[in-house]
C-alpha cells in the first residue's frame, strides 16, 4: 500500500510547525496559580512521601505529550487529503478529459442543476478517485483552456473550477496531441461537434423543455419603405411536448405588446408584430412558457429606428430611379432641386447629389452618386452576399446583390484621407464612406452605367445610406462571444450599467459578451447600441441529442470507473475520526487526572 498526499511539502511543514507549537506549549507553560493555605505541613509531609512516585508523574506527562503529538500529526495529515492506494495495479492510466461547455450545457435538468453541473460533477468524481500518479489533460469545446500541458489530479480539479459555459458560436472539438492516454468527452450531444472515433463519450443529456427566440428583426434595412414598423419574431419549441408561448415586446416607457402562440414540438412560429405604438429605441422581446429549462434564448433585444420623418433634398438633372425610390420611402419628405438652383443653406436633413459636384459643400450629410469618368476595361461583375455582422458596414447591411454589372466608374480623385472604401479598390472605388465632420456616402459608378437601380437591394442600400448618414441606422446584432465594433477606443457598458472589459485592435474595439444582453458603446459623445442575442436554432433545440441519459459507453454517471489503483477516499475521514477519538480520550484522562 502507498500513501499519497496532496502536497507532501506543505503537510511536512504544517506537521513540523504543529509539533514545534505543541513542544513549546509543553515546555514553556505559564506559572500555575498561587493558593494560600492555612499551613503547608500536611502538603510537605505528603510530597516528601510522594517523591518516590515521580516516575509515574513523568509517565503521565509523557503519555499526555504523546497523545497531543499524535492528534497534531493526525489532523495535519488529514488536511492533506491523503489517500491510500494499492500498489498492486501496475498500470496507471493518464486521461485526457474534454468537457463540452457549449451553450446548451446550461440547460437545467430535473434535479435543479444544469447539464454543465452534471458534467463537472462527473469529471470531479473521476479526478477525485483517480490514482495520484495519473496525469490529466483538461480541455473544453469553447477554447477557454489553451494549455496542452498535463497536470496531476489536484491541479486538474483547479482547472475544472475555472471552466464555464460559453454561449459563443465557436464550438469545436479541441485539437490536441493524441497519445496513449484514455480520452473522455463529457457532453450533452446537442452541439454539432465532430467527435473523432475512439473517444469515450459520457453523456450528461437529459430531455428538457425549452422555447426560445430563434430570429428577431425589425424590417431590416426597409424601415423607410414600409407603412408602419413591424417586428418579426420567430419562436421555436425545442420541447418534446406542445407549448403555449407568450411573446412580450416592451420598449421605452410603458409601451408594450403581447402575442400568444401554440407550438408543436420542434416547430417554429413567426409573429409579425405591429410596432406602430413604439417610438423607437431599444426593444426587449421575451418569451415565456411553462417549465422552460434554458433561459438564455428567452430574451432578445432589438433597436427600433426612430419613426420621425426627415427632409431629403435630391439635387439632380433628373433621375427616375432615385426619385421613385425616394418617393416610396414613407419617412422621407423629398425635395427636388435642379443643380443650377443648388443652395447649401436650405433647411434640409440630407442632400443627395446625382452626378453633381458642388463647389460649396453643405454642412449636412450627403449621399453622392458621382459622374462616370471612364469606362471599365471590362465589365465588373460580382455577387455581394450580405453578412449580418459587425464586420459589414451598416450601409451594406441587408444588401444582397446578384449578378451586378457595372460599366462605368468615376475618377478616384475624390478619395482623401478620411475615405473608407467599402467596395472596390483605390483605382476603382465603387463605394466609399466618410465619417469626419459630416457623414458622406459616395457611390463611385454611374447608375446609368450599371444595373444597380434594377436590383431589388437598391432601395435597401439607399435607405441604409440615408439612415447611416443621418445616424439613425440599425445597430448590428451580435451573438454571445467575442464582439468586434468598428470604433477605436470605445467603452462598453451592459444593460445594468456595468462596464465591460474591452480590448483594442486595428481601429476596432473588442469585448466578450458572455450572455445575451444589450450593450451600450460609447466613443466620445457618440453612442450606439449593440444587442447580443442568442437567437440560434442550435441552442433552442436542446433535445437534439444523439445521446441517452445513460452514458454512450455504458458507464453510469454516479459510478466511477477506476482510473488507478483501489481507492480509499475515506482515509482522511478516518484520520479525523481517530484525532477526535484521541481528543475525547485526552479530555477524559485529563479530567480523571490520568494525564496532565
Amino acid at each position: 500500500m502507498n500513501l499519497f498526499v496532496a502536497n507532501p511539502v506543505l503537510i511536512g511543514a504544517l506537521t513540523t510547525v504543529s509539533l514545534l507549537a505543541i513542544g513549546i506549549l509543553y515546555w514553556i507553560k505559564p506559572p500555575p496559580p498561587t493558593v494560600v493555605v492555612s499551613s503547608s505541613i500536611f502538603w510537605t509531609r505528603l510530597l516528601s512521601e510522594r517523591k518516590k512516585s515521580s516516575f509515574i508523574d513523568r509517565l503521565r506527562w509523557l503519555l499526555s505529550l504523546i497523545m497531543a503529538l499524535t492528534i497534531a500529526i493526525l489532523l495535519t495529515t488529514a488536511s492533506g487529503a491523503p489517500e491510500l492506494f494499492s500498489s498492486e495495479k501496475s498500470e496507471i492510466e493518464n486521461v485526457t478529459m474534454i468537457l463540452d461547455n457549449s451553450g446548451t450545457m446550461a440547460t437545467f435538468t430535473a434535479d435543479g442543476s444544469t447539464r454543465w453541473d452534471r458534467a463537472v460533477r462527473v469529471a470531479r468524481s473521476f479526478l477525485t478517485e483517480a490514482h495520484p500518479s495519473a496525469e490529466f489533460l483538461i480541455l473544453d469545446t469553447s477554447g477557454q483552456l489553451v494549455s496542452r500541458t498535463t497536470t496531476n489530479k489536484w491541479e486538474a480539479l483547479e482547472v475544472l473550477e475555472e471552466l464555464e459555459v460559453s454561449f459563443g458560436n465557436n464550438v469545436h472539438f479541441p485539437v490536441f496531441t493524441v497519445n496513449e492516454a484514455r480520452t473522455m468527452f463529457i457532453s450533452d450531444g446537442v452541439s454539432s461537434i465532430d467527435v473523432p472515433p475512439g473517444i469515450e463519450i459520457i453523456s450528461v443529456f437529459e430531455p428538457a423543455e425549452n422555447v426560445g427566440i430563434t430570429s428577431l428583426s425589425i424590417n431590416p434595412g426597409l424601415s423607410g419603405l414600409s407603412a408602419s414598423p413591424r417586428g418579426l419574431v420567430q419562436v421555436t419549441n425545442g420541447s418534446l411536448t406542445t407549448k403555449e408561448v407568450s411573446i412580450r415586446v416592451s420598449g421605452l416607457g410603458d409601451a408594450n405588446t403581447r402575442v400568444s402562440l401554440t407550438l408543436d414540438p420542434g416547430r417554429s412560429g413567426l409573429s409579425d408584430i405591429d410596432l406602430s405604438g413604439f417610438d423607437g429605441g431599444p426593444l426587449r422581446v421575451s418569451v415565456t412558457s411553462v417549465r422552460d429549462a434554458f433561459a438564455e434564448d428567452d430574451l432578445a433585444y432589438v433597436i427600433m429606428p426612430s419613426s420621425s420623418k426627415y427632409t431629403v433634398t435630391l439635387v439632380t438633372s433628373g433621375n427616375l430611379y432615385l426619385e421613385t425610390a425616394l418617393e416610396a420611402m414613407s419617412n422621407v419628405n423629398l425635395l427636388l432641386m435642379e443643380p443650377e438652383y443648388y443652395d447649401p443653406g436650405i433647411s434640409t436633413d440630407l442632400y443627395i447629389f446625382d452626378r453633381f459636384d458642388p463647389e460649396v459643400l453643405p454642412s449636412k450629410p450627403t449621399v453622392t452618386f458621382l459622374s462616370a469618368a471612364a469606362s471599365l476595361p471590362q465589365i465588373f461583375n460580382q455577387n455581394i452576399v450580405t453578412l449580418n455582422s459587425l464586420e459589414r458596414h451598416p450601409v451594406l447591411r441587408g444588401v444582397t446583390l446578384s449578378d451586378l454589372r457595372i460599366g462605368q466608374v468615376s475618377n478616384p480623385s475624390f478619395l482623401d484621407e478620411n475615405s473608407q472604401i467599402l467596395w472596390g479598390d483605390a483605382q476603382n472605388p465603387l463605394l466609399v464612406v466618410k465619417d469626419f465632420d459630416t457623414k458622406e456616402v459616395q457611390i463611385g459608378f454611374s447608375l446609368e452605367g450599371s444595373n444597380f437601380p434594377l436590383q431589388p437591394a437598391f432601395p435597401i442600400f439607399l435607405s441604409n445610406s440615408i439612415e447611416w448618414a443621418l445616424e439613425n441606422d440599425l445597430p448590428n446584432v451580435s451573438s454571445p462571444g467575442r464582439v468586434r465594433i468598428p470604433l477605436a477606443n470605445a467603452t462598453v457598458v451592459d444593460l445594468e450599467g456595468v462596464s465591460v472589459e474591452t480590448s483594442y485592435f486595428d481601429g476596432t474595439t473588442m469585448f466578450l459578451a458572455t450572455a445575451p444582453n444589450l450593450y451600450s458603446v460609447h466613443q466620445g459623445v457618440d453612442r450606439f447600441w449593440v444587442p447580443v442575442n442568442l437567437t440560434n436554432l442550435e441552442y433552442t433545440l436542446v433535445n437534439r441529442s444523439d445521446l441517452n441519459t445513460e452514458t454512450a459507453t455504458g458507464m453510469s454517471l454516479d459510478s466511477s470507473d477506476g482510473l488507478g489503483g483501489e481507492v480509499k477516499p475515506i482515509l482522511w475521514k478516518l484520520l479525523v475520526l481517530m484525532a477526535l477519538f484521541l481528543v475525547t480520550l485526552e479530555w477524559v484522562t485529563y479530567h480523571r487526572r490520568i494525564t496532565v
Binding site: V36, V37, I41
Partner: protein, 296 residues
C-alpha cells in the same frame, strides 16, 4: 452613619443567653463556684475520706469514735471547695485567618461564649491569645460584669505569626498558676506538633479541653491541576501537581491529624471536640456542655 459592625452583636448576645439557659438545664445540680478541687483538705463541709494521723497534725479532725473501735488515729478529710480557674487559650496565628468566615472569628465567638458561661458560673476566667508565644492576655476575671472587658479584649485581637503551643504554654505557666481547666481553641497546625505542648500541660497538672477548628476547604480543597501552595504562616511556597490520589492522601493525613489529637486527649482523660467553621458556634458550645468538662 451606619452602625459599626461588631463581632458580638445583639443576636450573638441572645444566643449567649440561650446557651446559659441550656447549661443550667443540661447540668441541673451545679452551683456557682462549685468546681471541686482534687485537693483534699482538713476543713470543709463535704466528707471525702480517712487517712492516718501524722504526728504534729491538728487533732481536731481526728475521728475519736473510730479510734475507740479500731484503736487507730484516723483523720477525716474534706474536699476543698474552690472556684477553679479556666484558662482559655485562643490561637491567633496567621493560619487562623483563613476561610470564610475565618477560623479566627469563629474561634473568638466560641471563646466569648465560654467566657460568658464561665463568668456567669462565678468561675475565674483567663483569656490568652497565643501564636508563637503568648501574644496578649486578659488576667483572671470573675463575675458577669467582666464580660464586656472580655468582648473588648477579643475584638481587639488580630492574627499574626506562626504557631508554637509549647512555647506559649511554657511562657504562660512558667509563672505560678493555679490548677484549672485549660481550653485550647485552635486549628492545631503547629509545625512542632501538639504532643510536646500537651505533655507540658500534663506536667503542670492542668485539665484540658481541646477545641479543634477547621474549615471545610481546608479538608477538601478545590485546587487546579497544578498550583503554588503558599503557607499562610511561614510564607514558603510549594509547587504541587494535584492528582486524585494526592487529594485522597491529603484527606487521609488531615483526618489522621485529628484522630491523633483525639486519641491523645482520650488517653489523658481530657476533652476533645472538633468542628468545621460551617457548624453554628452554639451547636459546638452545646457539644462542649454535653461533654460535662466545662460545666461541673
Amino acid at each position: 452613619m451606619p452602625p459599626k459592625e461588631t463581632l458580638f452583636d445583639d443576636d450573638f448576645l441572645k444566643k449567649l443567653e440561650y446557651l446559659n439557659l441550656m447549661s443550667k438545664q443540661m447540668v441541673p445540680g451545679h452551683l456557682h463556684g462549685e468546681h471541686r478541687s482534687k485537693k483534699k483538705t482538713s476543713s470543709g463541709i463535704e466528707f471525702s475520706d480517712y487517712r492516718e494521723y501524722v504526728s504534729g497534725e491538728d487533732t481536731k479532725n481526728v475521728d475519736w469514735r473510730t479510734f475507740l473501735r479500731l484503736e487507730k488515729l484516723l483523720l477525716r478529710t474534706f474536699e476543698e471547695e474552690a472556684d477553679l480557674p479556666i484558662y482559655i487559650f485562643l490561637d491567633s496565628s496567621a493560619s487562623m485567618n483563613c476561610g470564610k468566615p475565618s477560623k479566627f472569628d469563629y474561634a473568638r465567638k466560641i471563646t466569648a461564649a465560654m467566657c460568658y458561661v464561665g463568668l456567669l458560673n462565678q468561675d475565674r476566667v483567663n483569656l490568652v491569645g497565643f501564636n508563637d508565644g503568648v501574644d496578649n492576655q486578659l488576667s483572671s476575671r470573675r463575675g458577669k460584669s467582666q464580660i464586656w472587658n472580655a468582648f473588648r479584649f477579643l475584638e481587639a485581637m488580630t492574627t499574626q505569626g506562626s504557631t508554637s503551643m509549647a512555647q506559649s504554654f511554657r511562657g504562660f505557666f512558667s509563672s505560678r498558676r493555679r490548677r484549672g481547666l485549660v481550653v485550647v481553641i485552635s486549628d492545631f497546625l503547629d509545625p512542632a506538633g501538639f504532643e510536646r505542648a500537651f505533655d507540658m500541660l500534663r506536667h503542670f497538672g492542668q485539665d484540658l479541653l481541646a477545641v479543634h477548628l477547621y474549615e471545610t476547604e481546608e479538608r477538601d480543597p478545590s485546587l487546579p491541576d497544578e498550583v503554588m501552595l503558599k503557607d499562610a504562616e511561614l510564607g514558603n511556597v510549594e509547587r504541587v501537581k494535584i492528582t486524585p490520589s494526592l487529594m485522597k492522601a491529603y484527606r487521609k493525613v488531615f483526618d489522621a491529624h485529628s484522630e491523633a489529637l483525639e486519641d491523645y486527649c482520650k488517653k489523658n482523660g481530657w476533652g476533645y471536640v472538633t468542628t468545621s467553621t460551617e457548624t453554628p458556634f452554639e451547636d459546638l458550645i452545646l457539644q462542649v456542655f454535653r461533654q460535662g468538662r466545662f460545666l461541673k
